[in-house]
Symmetry: C3
Subunit: 392 residues, 3 copies
């Protein structure tokens, strides 16, 4: 089978482009946030998937909007195989490049997600959500059925990554060559509770709760600064971001996360949080050292069916997120502080077409380029963000 989706975005800063000297507001989740930006293809996906036989299924997903100097090259997101041990598909091994089961929003497809980007606190654990390895999942038949029923009602599940899952993976990040002998371990749990037992008021309501943990080692690269193009750290020009590159190797990271999701029938709530410690650039001593990190988000939404008397659905939402800790997916593993409120509405005009319009007020640490003067400076701004998504 072939399917896919495309996201076309247009972000407009209400506060205007930055004035010279002010740090530029950039976001790791959307390269078209920043100065001098107009239309942008955030995701162009094509999925080739299918059951090869009763026990083996395949899933291959390239993205056609990958930046590699120029834009819009094709690069793999997923390339995995489910090896099922039973015909009911309760037990399976997933082999290849696939999503790492840490966090609930991380596992939910961007095709389904209400907000434009994932929360940084959880996404920083697994940048681009995927890595290469082996995962084992267990999903009882009744939970498979419940998740399918929720999807049929138009509710946004995070997909089937088991009620329990454990895995081992490289840990260097999506599409990056492994850099050390150490691997990451991940453990995942989630369970959708039917709240009918709480009385008539809660009939049909579903609350999903769970917890995850990861632990592992990764290597970081450092910025290539020189006397000619110095880096900016802590207000000074330096010729190297890191005093000794020894501190870039075999950095350990450990995290635990929790999540709770009340599916919107019609009112919903969603919250996640994670805590941990990991390799982080200390800009004063210019070393990479183990520092604490924490953050999460809370989101409320309301599902309105048959808007304007049509088959369309509208879901207004508001999301608050915060994160303070390392962004390991970036060179030097710099420490970032993120605070953001996003209020918007997703309008599902029909099955093929979705329009999202949101207002976002954000404050983020600029980690775009170590050779620019605003590196590691805090930048803030208000934006109107729009996205047209077509599902095919």
């Amino acid at each position: 089978n072939m399917r896919g989706y495309t996201q076309l975005r247009y972000n407009q800063p209400l506060s205007g482009d930055r004035v010279a000297g002010d740090p530029e507001l950039k976001s790791v989740g959307d390269k078209s946030i920043g100065n001098n930006s107009n239309f942008f293809l955030r995701r162009v996906r094509l999925v080739f998937s299918g059951d090869i036989n009763d026990y083996i299924s395949m899933y291959l997903q390239p993205d056609f909007a990958t930046d590699n100097g120029d834009l819009n090259f094709a690069q793999l997101r997923d390339a995995y195989f489910d090896l099922h041990f039973d015909k009911a598909h309760e037990y399976r091994i997933r082999a290849g490049q696939s999503k790492i089961p840490f966090g609930w929003e991380n596992l939910q497809s961007s095709q389904n997600r209400l907000t434009l980007d994932r929360a940084d606190a959880l996404n920083s654990a697994v940048p681009s959500e995927r890595d290469l390895g082996l995962m084992a999942y267990w999903t009882p038949t009744d939970v498979q059925k419940l998740w399918k029923n929720l999807s049929k009602k138009g509710l946004k599940t995070s997909g089937d990554y088991g009620v329990l899952g454990v895995g081992v993976y490289n840990g260097q990040g999506i599409n990056k060559a492994e850099g050390n002998d150490g691997m990451y371990l991940v453990a995942h749990s989630t369970y959708p509770l039917e709240l009918d037992f709480m009385g008539k008021a809660m009939r049909g309501q579903v609350l999903e709760v769970g917890a995850d943990a990861i632990s592992g080692q990764f290597n970081r690269s450092t910025s290539s600064c020189s006397a000619g193009t110095p880096c900016y750290l802590n207000g000074e020009k330096v010729t190297s971001s890191i005093k000794s590159s020894d501190s870039l190797k075999n950095n350990s990271e450990d995290r635990v996360g929790v999540h709770a999701v009340l599916f919107p029938q019609p009112f919903g709530l969603q919250a996640e949080w994670n805590w941990g410690a990991g390799a982080t650039l200390n800009a004063e001593t210019r070393t990479v050292e183990r520092q604490h990190l924490s953050g999460g988000y809370v989101q409320a939404m309301y599902k309105i069916d048959e808007v304007f008397g049509t088959k369309g659905t509208m879901i207004p939402y508001v999301k608050w997120q915060t994160y303070d800790g390392a962004w390991k997916g970036s060179t030097n593993a710099p420490r970032v502080q993120v605070d953001e409120v996003e209020a918007g509405v997703e309008y599902q005009i029909n099955k093929a077409l979705e329009l999202t319009v949101a207002y976002a007020s954000m404050s983020r640490t600029n980690i775009a380029d170590a050779t620019k003067a605003d590196y590691l400076k805090q930048a803030g701004g208000d934006l109107i963000r729009t996205q047209l998504q077509v599902n095919y």
Copy 2:
């Protein structure tokens, strides 16, 4: 649906490789024109397209012959969606990366084009023909039907981009990150006139005429030359092509173009011209300044059906083109002078297989590499050009 086509080329300079010291003949339309060249995959295309529902259709076209250091990487050409307002598909919005409706030959697919490359004068307006934005098109039902009938007869239309179209797009060029806040505007018109009213001699003949305009702002990059690898400008070695990089930003460009096409039944004529002004490198002052540009082409062709008693079709053609103006798709936006005559024949052996053999005599400004001594020098030569095209 899936379909596609591949073009395998072989160009042979009759005048031989250049002698040392002479400038090398290179063409922006075909990288295999130049020294040391043999077989070349010019285009390897795969199109995924279809109607998602009555009002929404999708079109996704990667090219598998993109140079990104090594050859033959996959990169997006088109990724757009038609959002129709009526079931007859007379009115629609096209959202995403698609062809910018400036010029007639620009809009015609390379799968259909008779000549090997597009004329530089018109193509310089929108290098690679595509950009990211929103277009609105209007195509009355009778014109839709006329174009379809022409295609059925084996006549090469330019595809349906409306009889009227307007659009807004980034303007930085295909698969390039937007570089400024300004956008490009485009307005397009074309109309196929049935000439039956002119009497029996013109029965069934169709003449398509129209005019287009674009206006917008773009940013240019400049060559990275240094003391170690100097650039060559105006006969001198310089360490930077541009004195101040300020002149590279927010360059304005404005163009108008006209076209007229008599479809070959059996004799056809096709001509386009455009005039305008845009940012252009002044090699003497080493600044980018607004200069005039103009150019176009005239092409004659003759369609012979059932050649050799088979179902094959042969179309001999001759094309003359000229252009004097900026090539904005190249670093520094250098001024080029192009004069070319191409005489050839396209032999459609069957629906799947086309062989084109052409003789070309061309004179072009070398803009391949600013660090080489023949940069901006005029080079000329005669070539035999061949192309095998397979449609699938």
Copy 3:
């Protein structure tokens, strides 16, 4: 039609990572052989193929595991068309990028190959097995039928590249721009002999024998070393690997190869050898000069059907290979010495899933990076190698 396969690998050196100072063991056939390595996607392939009409068929195969800075970009392997001259498909021209018919194992798909990598001696003739050009093949109907019957029995043929084939191609290597006007020539022959005439003991046994030759010219690039990052040659630091770059152009190469394959019913034998001469880096004089090369492999295997009473098949094998000569696919065309023994077993669990586990003892010249001190040093080691292959 669409089909494909993916190979997920995991190599574990028994001898451990190299000690500092020792040269690192790397292999041209598998980038995940080396220090600091875990899971690796060796091949992620998708094939689009089909008969367009009775005389023309197409084959388009991108690989989604190409390294281009980051991993897993999509790049072309094959893009060719068979132009048949007769309905029986005995005579045809293959145009485009396709496998060069030199060697038997080179032509066999990696999807079918028993061992993890191809033998270096033969593969060094055509790195990545493919190039851009025109080939002519002749395959009599009875041989077409015999090869199909062997495949149906689960025997691994090398695919239909004719019993005779000749071709002309660029010769610069897969997905590399042509670098000179000279082209390569290739001639290929192979024939599967039914051994029934040798008596009852040989009933149904098939022995395929043949010989190939190539001759041509290619250009080599050289390592970019400088005073800041010197190269290591012959134990010395140098600022350039080659004294004069003249010796990198128009290097000639000539090879002949022979092969013999007894298909395993149940016992099989396979052997190939090639001899020749080609451009090779002389590390002492720092020039590229014509030197002799030779090498090949011998492989024995045993096919066990219905293992454990299932429909699975198991094929234990042992392969010995050696090569001494230039590796033209690498910068500088360095001389390598390879000696390797691999003993393993391929377990075809079902049509979709294959697991290969092998023990390999290898000695190879390190040609990974001329700026590292172990460049051109001989490295050895023992590995356990595993591969999970999914066919879809």
